[in-house]
């Protein structure tokens, strides 16, 4: 807990207009990311995890809430632009390197594009930097003149990472960076991200649906459900003693690679549509432990054990 927080998000809300109603994609999300750490953000589709990442990097405008990046207050609300100096320290790695790289652009130009946009790089400094980045992500220095289709999926993701690192950011948001890759490639990319973090002192927000991948890279993990964070804890605690019934269900649902078939308790139902807002706790319709209060009052995220927060009435000591 000694390291300073470089990202502070408070009460972030994002609503979309959908068929005349309001869809609350992100509904009051708060978290910190500390210098040099990885915060994992897990959730199923529609949980709001990707929208949260996109707001931080400025791809979406928030409806309300505050974001503080590197000690500077950023108004994320529509119409206000993140200062370039702040934006440069914050980069994004996309899920699908197939679609996020321009198929007509050579690898070296894709990697150098942020340098070109920032300006002030001579031709030789630019090409030196590109070769340095290629090497950093484990690609041959000579492959810069190839096009995206000449690379494998794993190699394309390495190019995506090199591009994100071009301007020496402090904080990188990775949105499902390995979910389109095969297992054997996935492990290589996770290890690369870990190596780069160690070497460059990067902080990550690692957004993914795969709980095991998130465990392998994160220091702390936040679990999102229906637009809100339901639990956040140091990784070991979250995986060994999850407090929120949703986290417990999520962990139980993952099929393990053992032939021992201790059948997981299957939770019923599906994610609520965020248009007809569920009163009370968003998880109560699927929660096996729900009681009267859960149907009426929305639980707040509060600290249950040191550093371990959960939004669940089961874990509240009555005042």
């Amino acid at each position: 807990m000694s390291a300073a927080s470089i990202v502070v998000v408070r009460d972030l809300v994002k609503t979309f207009a959908a068929r005349g109603a309001l869809l609350r994609a992100v509904d009051g999300v708060s978290f910190d990311v500390r210098q040099g750490e990885t915060l994992g953000l897990v959730g199923e589709s529609g949980s709001g995890k990707s929208t949260t990442g996109r707001i931080l990097v400025g791809l979406e405008a928030a409806t309300s809430g505050s974001i503080n990046l590197f000690g500077q207050e950023i108004s994320s609300v529509r119409g206000r632009v993140t200062p370039g100096a702040v934006r440069r320290r914050l980069q994004f790695v996309f899920q699908d390197p197939q679609n996020s790289l321009n198929p007509r652009m050579r690898a070296q130009d894709a990697i150098a594009e942020p340098l070109d946009v920032a300006g002030g790089w001579s031709r030789s400094a630019r090409s030196d930097r590109v070769r340095e980045l290629l090497e950093m992500v484990g690609l041959p220095r000579s492959c810069g003149d190839r096009f995206p289709h000449e690379f494998s999926g794993g190699q394309r993701q390495r190019i995506g990472i090199a591009r994100a690192l071009a301007l020496k950011p402090d904080f990188v948001i990775c949105d499902e960076p390995v979910s389109s890759l095969d297992v054997s490639m996935q492990a290589q990319i996770v290890n690369l991200l870990l190596d780069l973090q160690e070497r460059l002192g990067l902080s990550y927000l690692f957004i993914a649906h795969d709980l095991a991948v998130v465990r392998s890279i994160s220091a702390r993990v936040a679990v999102m459900y229906a637009g809100g964070i339901v639990e956040i804890a140091p990784k070991r605690e979250l995986y060994t003693s999850p407090l929120h019934p949703y986290t417990q269900a999520l962990l139980a649902a993952v099929p393990r690679m053992t032939s021992n078939r201790a059948r997981a308790a299957v939770i019923t139902g599906e994610l609520p549509s965020q248009i007809d807002a569920v009163p009370g706790c968003t998880f109560h319709p699927r929660c096996p432990f729900a009681f009267e209060r859960c149907r009426i009052e929305k639980p707040k995220l509060r600290e249950i054990a040191p550093g371990h927060l959960a939004a669940c009435h089961l874990h509240e000591t009555p005042a």
Partner: protein
């Protein structure tokens, strides 16, 4: 699987038309499934797992596909040489299939009713009214609540999990002997995945059908299948019972793959990787197709393609050096 298996694929080679002639997508593939059994076929992209499964019902485009060798024995018939008209009686009747993406495999302009009733009218010759009654029963069987109302919905009104339930209802409509499930839960969230796998398990028991489950997810195979075939670059590299495969993998690729999966129940410092990447089907590799990535490759591995060798107790691996050494190193 003591006697005659229900379906057996022998020495199947499927070729696709490439830019420079025909390319082997799968080569010399053998596997068999017994009545009521669940066989898992696992592999990464390009392994040929889906190509093999789609070949059972000859669902590849005819213009660009060639079945260069092999037989697919089902009863006393060879499905590969069966005339189209007779194959159509098997498809969706005795052998049914579900796919990864239920949105693109359902017709968006037809209601759920139209789509479930079709196989019932086609294969069982039911009247419209009888087919509709049966369709509602099927939706209830796949645990869709309020089935008599839901049946008139269009697919876009349903969630991904619901759509997959509808696909399953269509597939089991004629009580098939074999259900081929190609990545049936890959597009679904993990809590929905466990619901769908549980449903498949119950239906398998109820109907007594065999399931061929194609997946990239080793956890899904471990939880669902009895036997497993591991494919790599178009070939079967290992086949074994599920407990044997996970406790004692014989092939270095299988072992590498199992180790590369991040562990949900343990903290590790770094993940174990398999170096290199999956070869393109058109890449010529003289010996073992895994040898360029294998840490244990010896001279003989590079010289000629290894055979699938019996290691005893129904465990086969395409790695002569490992088997000679008695399995795991």
């Amino acid at each position: 699987m003591a006697e005659q298996p229900l379906l057996s694929v022998e020495n199947l080679t499927v070729q696709f038309r490439g830019d420079n002639g025909w390319v082997n997508a799968v080569e010399g593939v053998d596997f068999a499934v017994g009545a009521g059994e669940c066989l898992g076929i696992v592999g990464e992209s390009g392994s040929g797992k889906s190509v093999s499964a789609l070949s059972i019902l000859k669902l590849h485009s005819q213009a660009n596909t060639r079945y260069a060798s092999g037989t697919i024995r089902y009863g006393d018939r060879d499905l590969l040489t069966l005339p189209q008209r007779r194959l159509r009686q098997v498809r969706g009747g005795e052998i049914a299939m579900i796919f990864q993406d239920p949105m693109s495999s359902l017709n968006p302009v037809l209601t759920i009713a139209d789509q479930i009733m079709e196989p019932l009218r086609q294969h069982q010759g039911l009247s419209v009214q009888a087919a509709r009654r049966k369709a509602i029963e099927l939706l209830e069987m796949v645990r869709i609540s309020d089935a008599s109302r839901r049946i008139d919905d269009y697919p876009h009104r349903l969630s991904g999990g619901m759509r997959q339930r509808v696909m399953i209802a269509i597939a089991v409509a004629c009580r098939p002997k074999i259900l081929i499930a190609d990545e049936p839960t890959t597009a679904l969230d993990v809590t929905i995945q466990s619901q769908i796998l549980e449903l498949l398990r119950e239906l398998q028991r109820e109907i007594g059908m065999a399931v061929i489950l194609i997946t990239h997810d080793l956890g899904v195979v471990a939880q669902f299948a009895q036997r497993v075939v591991v494919m790599y670059a178009g070939r079967v590299v290992e086949t074994a019972s599920v407990p044997a495969l996970f406790e004692r993998p014989m092939h270095p690729y299988t072992e590498g793959l199992i180790r590369a999966v991040p562990n949900l129940d343990e903290d590790v410092h770094r993940l174990t990787t398999i170096p290199g990447s999956i070869p393109d089907p058109s890449t010529l590799i003289a010996g073992c197709r895994f040898s360029p990535r294998c840490r244990e490759a010896v001279k003989s591995c590079l010289a000629e393609p290894p055979a699938l060798v019996d290691a005893g107790a129904g465990h086969f691996a395409r790695c002569p050096p490992r088997i000679a050494a008695g399995g795991i190193s």
